[in-house]
Symmetry: D2
Subunit: 478 residues, 4 copies
């Protein structure tokens, strides 16, 4: 029988051996890979737990002082991670015990290993979701700015990659901003899910120790307590939602990138992105490869898989650990990847320039006004639309749209007149465009303000907790 | 050159051949498979379009009367679907033209084929999402009722499928109700996304015809207009969300089913579901197979794939049809499958009975109180928790927990006393349980009320639209 | 207690109620939706089981005759499917019992309900996989024919949708044929997995009845017996593989479609697909929408989800039914969808025409020869490649590649000379192209021959089985 | 305009700016994260390219000597990775140019950046796939050894987690070995796909430089050349297959883990895994949590997502980089994760012990022999099976199976007799078991031998290449 490494087990009531190397490799090292993500949050969770037990008189004064002091020290250190000694909770307990002896044993009072992990995970996610919201809002901001710059720039709308009708570059750009702003809303709701404290839940449904869930939540700066204790500890629906929303946001950016890739070809020549988003070829001297767009597209595909994986992992009974074991790294990684992608998409949006001459030419050459002409015929003659359509269809087949031949006013062939008529809400005429640009700008501003307020509140809560712990670690009386 | 079938093409300006059999098989038949889903919605969308154009004077009075009459007739018919003539829009136009000639040609005025499809899809989804919300709410209702019935029934809580701590069957049941109620919230937000009208958008950004987006939305009973016209027609983020939420809800039901499967084994013997949810074996006379639970588990896995597929399909440029071509069937099918699964899960929850004797015995035999004993030692002696844990660990290793030997009060070994101490918010003691049951009941009631109100409003809007059309089809003056 | 419908249960030893409506809706109707797929296979499996038991003397002669006769009758009928009476096995047993009484009871001898289902499923898959192989082979065939037609047609190769180097349309086309031929190989291996008989396995590991696994396999025309009985009945790895391969094949077709969509735009103007694969717009008279390509792309995305779903469903314990309950419909549906897509892709490949003039112009305008020029400089001067590249890069930046100025032979600017130099194996020069075209043609021919042989063998086996049953049903002596 | 960092661009013909920070963060750092994976392979690919160009006289002798020497030096170094200078190819070229000036420029002769990457990726995958094959073979080995140890140990077979029929622990164990051995076959075919050289392909279809594809393949120890040059560089079907197979193998291990989790509960008590695969709880002194099983289950779910993500990313046009940009890390990571999981699964299989007494008792208490009894009745009386089944069903309902009352021989109730009758191929009787154990052992042995041979061959090829380069770097004459 292999002796367990010192500190790996507690009393070892029912387990008497150290971990198999295969378990260290596949299990503990997997968990420890998340240590950089979780380490500080573990420290904060431990501080809050100790403070609450201290406030409610469950820990002797001297033990409390020693514990808080040791935890504060640990907060500034990187714990050397070695899977042979177990996971992060094991390693931290081992270090604390070496430093302050049995006083370290209070950390497990009324609290399973997983609770500190859940809290640390939510703290880490809170930051990451805020950064993702900021990145999506910046992407929307870039799109809205582009829409404002090109509000009146004639542009061909495509369906099936075939010229459809006249539009403006601004209207096209805004069609990506609206989904991005819905992404912001979704992610803020995800934040609200994350921002609930599972702390003070006991093993499953409370404890004989005098826990105080509201106080733990307050100390850690959570907006509220996740009510049902078992649900609070094991719930994963919000994680599935979060990764799915990261994938949806990245897919929106990927869709924008696919349009850019097409419109930036020499053949289309409608748009151009900056040199700083392209790369040269090592072999072909004439190349200017829009590398950023490939990064966006591949990233979206990768995130779609992350979303499927997190969801597939949730098909499991309750209370089984496998449903959350991988989630820490997978979900955090997905949110971070999405944030990097959205920042890149924002850079792309910011760098887009339009070739207005080419765009106008494509509107003309692509018979984009054919529909307007048919509409003009129908409107001026009272003939049904299908009959007018057929007449125009024949003209297009002959290769030319001629106002006189078709018996209509020349303005029917004027793209500017066409756009001026697009006055329905959400349309391309200046008035609905201005209304939409204003609406989107307000939403972007509000989202960015929220990210700043939220970051600041988080920092303040953390400072206060550390300050409280510091004062507790120095107090001469409990 | 194959002659196109009569009515397949309009003027055939640029296309002069009928569809290849491979395209009929893979394309039009795929679309027509959704005809039962979309047919009525197409009819309503056409009525609303015609009425609005009529109200704004764009259609001559006689044409309008003929058109409304023919559309009303068609509303009551099942259009025979034959892919050789194209999709549902083609087939409907063909029938209308056969019946009322060129007056049918007004339907395409200011409106591409896809707009009626989008509206019909949203109308169909509206109903389906309401039914899914109702099914999830009923599932939550069954869980809450079970929780109320078994509020005080001692039950072992398991982690890793190993006995952990004492709980109640009611607390365990409620841990599935909370996620289900979050599913309800999510799905109602999805409903709000669905309940926006894309109508009156023109081809991409308006039209020269006098469209009226607000009036179209009102006639079809939509809560609001989806603002940006291009976004309104092509957006899919809400569909990804909806399928993902259907999968999350089904995964919650599957998790409940996995617990049931375990607890209903003869070996665990803690629970029992009704005969009406089981099936016999054709070979083995002694079997009582919990078939419903397999249906729930496999269904969740299937829906996870649907969610991945809808998302994968969205990685595409804008305005390309492929992103919505399959969505009609896939998303509707997923929502319907989820509703069937949740109704089955509700039936399972409703049929659960608890073997309280076996449950209490497992609490005892599984040393579920070991943690409480260690807590009692720590609380009564002031020793740190880890030390107390070690002492109890040794006692468990010897196979018995003895209050006297451990120097604690006998109540530490009383499960009822343990549960009575679980008074934290969300805990298993009667007070927090009653609070949670009340909160959940209120949420269920409000959700079910919403489904009724929403169904009724939908019916009313449809009746009014048909009535308006009927009066328009009869009016002697435009 | 609800009375079970007549015939739903056997002795009802442990189940005394009919199925709940929720179970009928979510379970039995789900299974019965597969009835068209499985019905004939069930009949054949039942015939083979009865014949083997008869041959080995386990069924009395009169019972055997009655049973075979009734099974043959049933083989020609569509069983009316009503979920209230259970699944297909239940319904068949019910019908047989009504017709021949207790002789029907022999069908369950040594055989659980699931065995006939597994056999029927494999028989159905066998046909579908053969059709998918045929479709992929036809797609490869179309690509190879295109490659042969356009073996020498100068064409720009693109990376990042930017012109890279000169190639031929034939070389580009062949780059899709190779993956398709690997799809054929993969699918034929999947067929080999499918073509193993799970028959005669008993409930789990044999039976007291004198089963004969080899004889069952022979009667049903399977190539071999799936050895381990429990594995034979429950294995799903081949199904995951099959759906994944259907998705990979469809993704290959989708990739081809994405290239076509780009090259068929007016802006690129390099290729054209047939009118019979396009559709008109109802609104825009000038449109010619490549509808087939959208069908291909969306289909691939949908199949990616099917693959994820089947795999996600397999994360389950052994022997649990949920892992195969949905597979029948999901896997068969996926293989069929893939076959439809590949047939459409073959039609696309067959219809492609190349605009050689535009292609040659793009090679020139896109500076596709820049690399060749740099190579020529390096080869003729002995300067390292990067230096030559830099010189050419500067020339491109100035907008012109001039042989004299760069001090090279004019042939460096001749695309034909460039292509003639591509003589490495797999390259674009005529010799390697001819070698590859020959290799691919041979592979296509062999694949199509295999599909014919396999279809014929399957038909023969089925005829023989029915003939044997017919003779058994008539024989006066057992 | 931001100055590009020194060495980032070549001549910068069409790009004149350094990369945006967002591109460095999302693009280059993503690529550089794979540097540890690819670095050595890049070095080997560069050596082979230089040697072949040297052998065919394309590089001047002095340049060749300098280049080989510098490449050999670099082979032993870790290139410090800094995304501001681009990807690994950029960084290597920069270092080489600093050291040997323009001689470094030969590395790009006839070769785009991506070719070295593709080669390095395949070299890295080769090793990883071999290790995964070894891990799966060891898992199968452990299962076969368990099957041999427990060949005759009576065990209940479960379906729906309900006792079905008698089996042996050995037969149950072998039912996981067969799928694992099919995983081995699949992965070896994937290896064959990986083991083809894309080298010497030129930019897309050859080059004016005298490339030699067979020689490059030989130098790098590839089994063969991937024929079609464009396919060779861009193909991804084998990667999709590989990740899918990694997921399937992990799902097989997860299924085994799910069975273990159930059978290792105190309630079932049939099996036990070693302490070294479990962990203690920090809170609950009595717990013995089978942590390894949670690692296996969650790992399978995670890999299912990886598979979906790689496939989703492939839905893209040809020649677009996004389809391979993420694949390097995703596919390698998936294969490595699967190998870790399979090694853990092997450790689990190796540690399983069976509680034969409990198992026998469950067979008895679970009426596992009910089917055998019904079979005995049918066989001895000639009554059809359903009638016998009904009789036994009634007996079970009364709670006892009594041979006398049922009028059968007592041996019908003897599990050993039942098992002895399971003599069909693949059955549980000793003869078919021995045959299967022998067959599986041979397959395991052959698989492990292959991994050793393959590892050795790979090492030899690499040594020879380095030796050849060393001699080239020293040679006084070219």
């Amino acid at each position: 029988m292999t002796e367990p490494p010192e500190g790996y087990l507690g009393a070892g009531a029912r387990i008497r051996r150290g971990p198999a190397p295969e378990l260290v490799e596949a299990g503990y090292q997997l968990e420890l890979a998340d240590a950089p993500l979780l380490q500080r949050g573990f420290g904060l969770a431990d501080l809050a737990h100790a403070i609450v037990l201290g406030e409610r008189g469950a820990i002797p004064a001297a033990d409390l002082r020693a514990l808080l002091g040791a935890l504060l020290d640990l907060l500034e250190e990187d714990v050397a991670v070695d899977g042979a000694y177990g996971d992060l909770a094991n390693l931290r307990e081992r270090l604390l015990t070496q430093r302050i002896g049995s006083a370290a044993g209070w950390l497990n009072a009324g609290r399973p290993r997983r609770e500190a992990g859940r809290i640390a995970f939510r703290l880490a996610l809170r930051s990451r979701v805020v950064e993702l919201v900021a990145a999506v809002a910046r992407f929307a901001d870039g799109l809205v700015a582009l829409a404002a710059r090109e509000r009146d720039t004639l542009f061909p709308d495509y369906t099936y990659a075939q010229v459809a009708q006249p539009t403006t570059a601004g209207h096209w750009s805004l069609s990506f901003a609206y989904p991005a702003l819905r992404d912001v809303e979704r992610l803020r709701r995800d934040f609200a899910w994350v921002d609930r404290s599972p702390g003070g839940a006991g093993g499953v449904n409370g404890s004989r120790f005098p826990l105080d869930r509201a106080r733990v939540a307050e100390l850690l700066g959570f907006a509220e307590v996740a009510t049902h204790t078992r649900d609070a500890i094991w719930q994963t629906d919000g994680l599935c939602d979060l990764v799915s929303h990261a994938a949806i946001a990245a897919t929106g950016a990927s869709r924008f990138a696919e349009d850019l890739e097409l419109y930036c070809t020499d053949e289309f020549g409608l748009l151009r992105i900056g040199d700083e988003l392209c790369r040269a070829s090592a072999l072909m001297p004439q190349k200017r490869n829009p590398y950023a767009l490939a990064v966006l597209r591949g990233g979206a595909g990768t995130l779609i898989g992350r979303s499927a994986g997190v969801l597939a992992t949730q098909r499991t009974p309750s209370g089984r650990t496998d449903n959350l074991l991988y989630a820490y790294g997978e979900v955090s990684g997905a949110v971070e990847l999405a944030a990097r992608l959205l920042r890149l998409a924002a850079a792309c949006a910011g760098s887009v320039t339009v070739d207005a001459r080419r765009a106008a030419q494509r509107v003309r050459d692509g018979f984009a006004l054919a529909t307007d002409v048919a509409e003009a015929i129908s409107l001026s003659t009272g003939r049904d639309y299908r009959s007018a359509y057929d007449a125009v269809g024949r003209a297009v087949a002959e290769g030319r749209l001629d106002a006189v031949a078709l018996g209509i006013d020349a303005s029917a062939l004027d793209p500017a007149a066409a756009l001026a008529a697009r006055t329905v809400p959400g349309g391309a005429a200046p008035e609905p465009m201005d209304a939409m640009i204003g609406e989107c700008r307000a939403a972007v501003t509000e989202a960015l303000r929220w990210t700043e307020v939220t970051r600041a509140a988080r920092g303040r809560a953390e400072d206060q907790l550390v300050e409280l712990a510091r004062s507790g670690s120095r107090s001469s009386v409990s």
